[in-house]
Symmetry: D2
Subunit: 481 residues, 4 copies
């Protein structure tokens, strides 16, 4: 079976899906000035199978011997995880350090759901495991793109679903019918679903017994009736490739995703009322998803260092001790995240036959990355200097009355021309001091779970027994008292 | 003599000055869609004298008994410094935490130049002191706005002016004539000069004897022939007051300021060739200017805490321990900067009869503010959440097809309505995760000198003799060996 | 009335008090090898009145016109607070950066109790205010030393007094008699009570109504029957003045203080059962005591910088960029604590006629000092190097077989002799990498309240109303929704 | 060939070596009260081969098929590095988290010297490679302990060997004879050489051509004539196992190592005058040695967490949010160091047939460990509380007059008895707030190279080409300008 091309991927998005953007219904997301840019960014992922440089990495066989994209491969070994990591990093690099995220997140759900539905099969004789694997085969063999909606809008975050002022602050089942279920509610910050073929839904937290209606996981086509996407304009993006070298070409679109009584047939339902498994599914997904997170950060970290090094050279300060100190910190930041990701793969565990990246190490890598991100951005800004936000624009360079001034006065160290210097500063501002940069900061600390969520996971996952016993032995504690 | 009104201030800006913005010559900066916003922001400063709430603070008498704006008052005591600080904070607060900066920076120069020209008078019998004080009286009695250009474009930052590849990377005197001098070169990131009446120029570093042509300080009217401003569009600013509540109403405009052979009459020249005093003037200005810096930050710090507290309430997490910890840190951050500013005023020294804020404490306050700014922004983003960059826009709220969804699903804690919550997030994004936010980050670490500049000043200003003697005594060191 | 001399102070300690140390009853604390050192350290405080260099600072008049030590003066103004700060800093400096703490802590209690007992007088017509002021006069006019016991042993720290497994984990009243009360229980880490004339006791937390027996504050002579002190040996201290230049001469002694049914006459009781005022008294004391804390740190911070600067010179690395960076940080650390202390005094409030240092600023200063202390110690160790803990001892220098090697090979930069270098390293190890150094680390983070206690105080003391209103205004929040 | 027992190891130390301690010549280091403790600590390493629990790990075959201790095995693969790491961690754990360091450091030298001498063989036809491997076989087959002296006393650290005031501030060759060389000078902080059979010496820095006499590496028996050790008493250690549970049983002894014209036969010389290779040897050793460093830290990190967890429980605060936050940080600290070590092994490179741990990752792990050590100590102290340094001693518990008070009043949370609580605090003080704790702090930041050395290595080892190219591509830089 042939894998889809980028064009085939884009063509399939013209299917009548309900998308709103800046107050208007968008008939064709691929043709929209802003959203089209994001659609083409997603298409990068589909271009790999056709690209001789990437084909070996991107194309593999599944366990039925069918040719599939690397993303759909069932992870069985550390090697599988490392290859997946490479696939994520390379597509992100092709996206100029902006994560593509059109198959990553769906394929974080599939193995997690495989594990949890297997447990439900064994413990409850629940029918979800087969359905899930059939769905996995479906998306793999048809080379489909997947969005995923997990985070409910939540209302008062100190309360569970049932205690909210409004019953729909978490997505819930409002009707169980013979052929399927009807769901209502809304999920916040869903990434790129308007460019996906299928939308996967799962709970975002552990639930208690009163919350049965909220324990629901399923998949629906993105043009399902009642499914509505309101895309946010706040992820940045300029129009001039000179002033905004990356955000003018690459974009992510997050949506408020509304389920206005959407029907889901039973064979697309993976959880329905089993509250006890809601937390396991939510967390199991996150375990995979944070590994994806730390995999896709590498090109961004490369970009930070590259920008800082070039800016230091452009400004003639590359030998200053404080600049060298900052570069060393940036490198250590990158290498720490990178090496922890490698260790998380090497130290994977096996659940229901699947390789799961080491949870503690994965969470530490994500937490370390996120917590230090703003401080690292500061270093890049510090080395680049104030011109990031006070420089003339492309139009001033094109204006014959000012062109000469721009060219003459913005020169840096000998050998680094004015316009290259300006382009470099534009890249740095675009990525690290702008709407697009603000989006990245939020992505760092809120995507794939908050800083606090990671801290809790780190604490919970640690078995204190051995270290307490060691300390007790060193202290000669008397076990009887 | 009556002080000027905001309208009078604005009217005076239509004087033929040469301003470029986004590739076009701007005939009237007050009428331009973007720049006009910045002009009106500057006018806030002139509105205080007319405003009964602010008049007592804003209007005072100078030493000749003439009614002047508070900014022009000669600082003689800690009380004067504290009043000036209050004036700066209050105008900034009226500017919704964005510094107005239309008289602050000029009146940081005047006392510094008073002190240095006094020394030049005493040591060299140089004529600058009288000129400077005449200029001070001129701007005070005519209630004039001042821009100030200090930072040269610099080229290779590891080299001094004379060693640059291009002789004009620092502003220099190209001709000395009978009536005055002719200057050439360019200064980077000059704040708001296109809204000023007078532009003050001074060196940005210590110079050595070879650099005599670069040792120049003067003032010129902003419409002087040959003086050209290229305003940067990168300081942020949206158009919808809903989506961009502050940046749609308040703006700063920084320029690349080109001196294309500008003539300056002798009575406007305050330094010309005395290289030995260039560093003293540069540094003396900065001593006052960093006190201004830490004075105008207070409303911004208030805004950070206010945003974080409201966001915590809106999300229902105000009692979470980690949120309380973050709020405590934000408060400590604000209070540390604030209290250090107060101490810097109380511990002022006197030079040439003027009160100078304590240099070490001022630099520590500025350094502490700047170094921790990004980490504090992170805390605000962390409390607010991902909706900052994934929320629908004003247009989606106005669209009848989606209005209901926006209103229903973006509700937070009971009592905090959806639209207020959205407005709050819009404020936070506008200030802390956007083009405007990126501008503030750069302002934090590069305006009024870089982080490294402050560290050096802190080290240089400290007299190690006493503490070394104390340590030597505690160690019983033998002074003879 | 003449103030007591150091000898008179020491003589008064031979009064039969019950003191244990390292398993033995100590008959005379002034004659004991270890404790005597601590006693003489306390006597520093009494030496000031006789010392022409310090007399002006140390001797003043009280409000009755009686000559008293500065410590007993009733604080009415910012100036009084600044003078008290100077007195504390100078006695500490005479103690080679080790706080003397023989009157400081008692005179933190007196004004706090003055304020709280005044409120109790007004609200309950309670008799304590007069008693308290009589006691103040008593200690002032007799020039008495005071210890203070606040921290109960507490048992399970998550429980209040009444819920503990053992009723005596907090000091409590076990009998109310006609002439006075009988108290039982124990207080932990009481500083230097074995060198005091009077011991003051107060609660360490807010109490609820069930805890009435624990709401007790009083003063007793240190030789009161039933009062027993078990002094800890863990505050460091060596015997060789060469190897341990400070700790061989200066020491603090903390005790576990046991109240084995101690009788207290009514005129020494300042709180007895009024649970509602327990928290106010505990906190009120702490407000003054944290100001003392930040006052006595200055000589220690001086010592840190002095040690680091001398070590950099001794090693020949004083011009290395990373060393200069570290010195700049140490200076900023010192100046931040110092300037915040000055601001806390200038911004004092007045309660019951007394000046109270600004609580928020005081707590921030203490928190900032404590939180960063270990990191600053690291910098000093980093600059000094590994010889701190691998160098030969005094005995090796005195041994003729090895003397030459020690002298020859431990030389540093030209001009800094081997033995002076060794003495310097000994000082640094003594203060920053030893038993004595560990004591200082604990003192930093636990004395005068923990890091968390300060964070909570900072948050509680801040009035969020104004900043929330400012943010709401900037966001255009609709007050009706 | 049978491996030596612990007793055989100890017996061999009675060979007339010249050891001084606290001013006295020590005839038998194994019989000395303090040094004997350190000798027995070293013997732990020899006990493993006899211990059924450790034998499988500790005993292996070398490439000649001879039974040797694991330490002597030639590292060829990542697996060898991981096994070595385990060996180091387990002996350290048996040493109650204090590194044993009696073979680790020598076997860091051997592979590094193997690689460098191989290069010298190929490039200079120098004879060292064979000698080195013969020495490796000698120590392996005779199961010998090795000390290593690298850090010269250095004098003025800003100068190289030749420019020092004193020619012997770096160890140098003073005579080349027919049979060997004569060396003079001193090395600082040599760890445990007085318990080793052989002492290895190598340069501590790159040298230039003028420094030929200082380019010397060799091995000598520890009782060689002219070789003198002055052991430092400053590594901590108490006498009561109750008050000092670890330091009373475990100790390291560092020496000032004096070469008073020591003769070294040629077959023990591995470098002599080839200045160009001095830096490579110094750095090559350090590459291995830092991997050892991060391997032996794991038990210490376990101890930190174990102590913090037990202290939290003892005090009843284990559920407090700030305590949980601190525990999470401690765990993340441990896991980051641990996982980076694992990654450094997995990502090893091969040089001259030997596996070298990834240099960048190793240095980052070491730097991260060291830089954060003091802050982590602070967290442990913070959770434990002030009793660490104010508690009664063992003697007070044994004294019948005070025993009851100690037992009654030092109880914590129900189920955690007073004496166990006291023992736990004693362990924490012993390790983290004492002479022994200070030693550990210095060990963290100065052993195996300083913080700055690691930062430089991180920067130097990073190839910026790829990341600069990526940034240049994202910025669309024009390669022609």
């Amino acid at each position: 079976m042939a894998l889809r091309t980028a064009d085939q991927f884009l063509a399939a998005l013209r299917d009548g899906r309900t998308v709103y953007y800046k107050g208007e219904r968008v008939a064709d997301v691929t043709a929209h000035p802003d959203l089209g840019r994001a659609a083409r960014h997603c298409a990068i992922d589909y271009s790999f199978a056709d690209d001789p440089h990437h084909r070996t990495l991107a194309v593999t066989e599944d366990e039925h011997g069918v040719t599939v994209n690397r993303f759909y491969r069932v992870p069985r070994t550390a090697g599988d995880l490392l290859k997946r990591r490479e696939m994520i990093a390379e597509t992100t690099r092709a996206g100029r350090a902006l994560i593509v995220l059109i198959r990553e997140i769906g394929t974080d759900f599939l193995p997690a759901a495989h594990i949890v539905t297997k447990a439900m099969q064994e413990q409850l004789e629940a029918p979800y495991h087969e359905r899930l694997n059939a769905f996995w085969t479906h998306v793999a063999h048809n080379d489909l793109a997947m969005g995923l909606a997990q985070t409910d809008v939540k209302g008062d975050r100190s309360l569970g679903p049932t205690d909210q002022e409004h019953p729909d602050y978490y997505v819930r089942v409002v009707d169980r019918q013979k052929d399927g279920i009807v769901v209502r509610g809304a999920k916040a910050h869903t990434t790129n679903p308007i460019f996906a073929d299928e939308l996967i839904v799962l709970p975002c937290r552990a639930l208690d017994e009163r919350d049965a209606a909220y324990a629901v996981s399923f998949a629906v086509p993105c043009n399902a009736p009642g499914l509505k996407f309101i895309a946010s304009p706040f992820s940045g993006g300029g129009t001039s490739p000179f002033d905004h070298p990356v955000s003018s070409r690459h974009k992510i679109a997050d949506t408020l995703t509304v389920f206005d009584d959407v029907f889901v047939p039973w064979d697309r339902v993976f959880l329905c009322g089993e509250t006890r498994y809601a937390g396991a599914l939510a967390l199991g997904f996150v375990e995979y998803h944070r590994f994806t997170a730390i995999s896709y950060k590498l090109p961004l970290l490369d970009l930070m260092i590259g920008c800082a090094m070039l800016a230091a050279e452009a400004n003639g300060i590359e030998k200053a001790a404080h600049v060298r100190e900052k570069l060393s910190r940036l490198i250590a930041y990158r290498e720490t995240v990178r090496a922890l990701t490698v260790a998380a793969a090497h130290e994977c565990t096996t659940k229901a036959g699947l390789a799961v990246p080491n949870t503690t190490v994965t969470n530490i890598a994500k937490q370390y990355f996120a917590e230090n991100y703003h401080a690292m951005v500061q270093k890049v800004q510090d080395i680049a200097g104030g011109l990031l936000v006070t420089a003339p624009s492309e139009a001033d360079w094109k204006n014959p009355e000012t062109k000469h001034y721009v060219e003459q006065y913005l020169g840096g160290k000998k050998g680094f021309g004015s316009i290259n210097r300006l382009k470099l500063f534009n890249l740095i501002r675009d990525y690290f001091a702008s709407d697009f940069g603000g989006y990245h900061e939020l992505l760092a600390i809120h995507a794939e779970g908050s800083l606090e969520a990671q801290k809790i996971t780190i604490l919970r996952g640690f078995d204190g027994g051995a270290v307490k016993a060691f300390a007790a032995d060193c202290a000669n504690l008397d076990p009887r008292s």
